[in-house]
């Protein structure tokens, strides 16, 4: 197929800037991320944080959608075990994540591209550290360049990605 539209040029050269979608829970990791800001800790600019109330809201479909839409990696941040603002949401996240990782193993997605970290509200420095590590890790791996799934030829296929071209 010749209709590849994913960024290819950067592969294997130093110009590659990983695109990382981060899902952070409101109470711990998003707050820590704000704290990193308040403390003026600079870190790699490659993450794009999407706030959810709890890591329990995060599910494989969101991660898969991010990768499908061009993310080279996905970072998930939640409260430490035992610290969840909603008691146990982070455990649900962890279980889904572990199963998803096994799926990724079979599908050839490098395990380093998806990372789950428990980051407490006070751990601004951990946001900095984890972000930097993750960006470096993914930079080493190079762009994800998923095989392009041919777009379904109809207005609403059962498995269509959400909002495909929705606002374009």
């Amino acid at each position: 197929m010749s209709n590849l539209s994913l960024p290819q040029a950067a592969a294997g050269n130093g110009g590659f800037e990983p695109r990382i979608v981060a899902f952070f829970c409101n109470w711990c990791t998003y707050t820590a991320s704000d704290l990193a800001g308040i403390s003026r800790m600079t870190y790699a600019p490659n993450t794009r944080v999407i706030r959810v109330m709890c890591s329990g809201r995060i599910e494989p479909q969101l991660i898969l959608a991010a990768l499908r839409k061009g993310a080279d990696g996905v970072l998930i941040g939640g409260c430490h075990p035992g610290d969840c603002h909603y008691q146990v949401g982070n455990y649900k996240c962890l279980r889904r994540f572990k199963l998803l990782k096994r799926y990724f193993e079979q599908m050839g997605i490098e395990p380093e591209r998806v990372r789950l970290e428990w980051i407490a509200a006070s751990e601004g420095d951990k946001v900095q550290k984890v972000t930097n590590e993750m960006v470096e890790q993914v930079r080493k791996l190079g762009p994800l360049n998923l095989a392009e799934a041919p777009k379904p030829h109809h207005q609403a296929a059962a498995c269509a990605v959400a909002a495909e071209g929705a606002v374009s």
Binding site: L100, M107, I109, A147
Partner: protein, 327 residues
């Protein structure tokens, strides 16, 4: 007025879809009385030239089953699209890639190598492979080529409706034919099956506990299956909660868990992703190592959660570092 013309074509499929037509039993007579089949390679002796000879849009409705991989299949579905007013993707393979879609876990070369060189029953010391063109005395022979990836039908041509299932349940087929005949069709792109998950029609739903916590997943041969009780409650990986209804819970009635052949409901973007989320959430484990070992009890996540839909899933095929998989 003449009867509407219909076609029925197969791509990469097992023949089960055709069987499902036969399963219409006495209703089949009503169907053939109402419809004029003009192309049905499995059952009737029409040729490609016959289709090519038709006017564009001459076929009122064409049912196509099977996934698409070979150049022949590409050509045929494109041809049928041109000649048909309505294309209905029929069965899991056309709908989502189906069982043949699991081939997307391998690259083409390794499949060919396995088939033509490595299988235990292969005796092919010279490593001969089928070629697109072979010159033999008397002329040139051609064979279709294979694409790098398996695709669902809508990844190749525009599809108007889907009838899901492996094979599609006959009531769905019957309802679809009636809708086509009566012209009372839903918006294009609709999957012609209820848009609610299977638990809705599962006879065992009342036996499912409201505090389900799964210790580890079992496989059917590992336990003595209680014929009354919710299968998930017995630890079996039943995909019913995330799979479209419309089959009348046939497998569950046969004391086997749902494997997801009807695909997801319309609100779900990735069938496997959604069912993984649901089932993993229900695990009992809280410690990381417990979770890992509970999840180890799923021997083959792709084969379990994406059995019928690797091509139709968000990842589409196995990722290789070279990127696009060359399709």
């Amino acid at each position: 007025m003449s009867k509407p013309k219909a076609g029925f074509y197969w791509c990469a499929s097992c023949g089960g879809c055709e069987e499902s037509v036969v399963d219409l039993a006495e209703d089949l007579i009503a169907v053939v009385t109402a419809i004029d089949f003009v192309f049905f390679p499995c059952a009737m002796d029409f040729k490609r030239e016959d289709v090519e000879a038709m006017k564009d849009g001459e076929i009122a409705v064409c049912f196509i089953n099977g996934a698409v991989r070979s150049s022949e299949q590409f050509e045929m579905v494109e041809l049928l699209r041109k000649k048909s007013q309505l294309i209905i993707a029929y069965g899991s393979c056309a709908h989502m890639g189906g069982i043949p879609g699991l081939a997307n876990l391998y690259d083409l070369e390794s499949i060919l190598k396995r088939v033509y060189t490595e299988t235990e029953s292969t005796d092919n010391p010279s490593g001969t492979r089928p070629l697109p063109q072979t010159t033999v005395p008397g002329g040139k022979l051609t064979l279709p080529t294979l694409d790098e990836s398996v695709k669902s039908l809508d990844q190749v041509i525009p599809v108007d409706y889907y009838i899901p299932g492996c094979p599609p349940p006959t009531p769905l087929l019957k309802a679809a034919v009636e809708a086509v005949l009566s012209g009372k069709l839903p918006p294009k792109g609709t999957v012609l099956a209820p848009d609610i998950a299977l638990c809705k029609e599962c006879p065992r739903i009342d036996s499912k506990p409201e505090d389900l916590a799964i210790k580890a997943f079992k496989r059917p041969h590992e336990i003595d299956i209680d014929p009354e009780k919710c299968l998930l409650a017995q630890g079996l990986l039943c995909l019913g909660p995330g799979t479209r209804s419309g089959c009348g819970a046939a497998c569950i009635k046969g004391n086997m868990p749902c494997t997801g052949c009807l695909g997801p409901v319309s609100r779900v973007h990735d069938h496997g992703g959604a069912t993984m989320a649901a089932l993993a959430s229900l695990l009992e484990a809280t410690e990381e190592d417990q979770i890992v070992s509970a999840i180890e009890s799923v021997p083959d996540p792709v084969g379990t959660f994406y059995r019928y839909g690797v091509p139709g899933s968000l990842l589409f095929r196995k990722h290789t570092t070279s990127g696009n998989g060359g399709h």
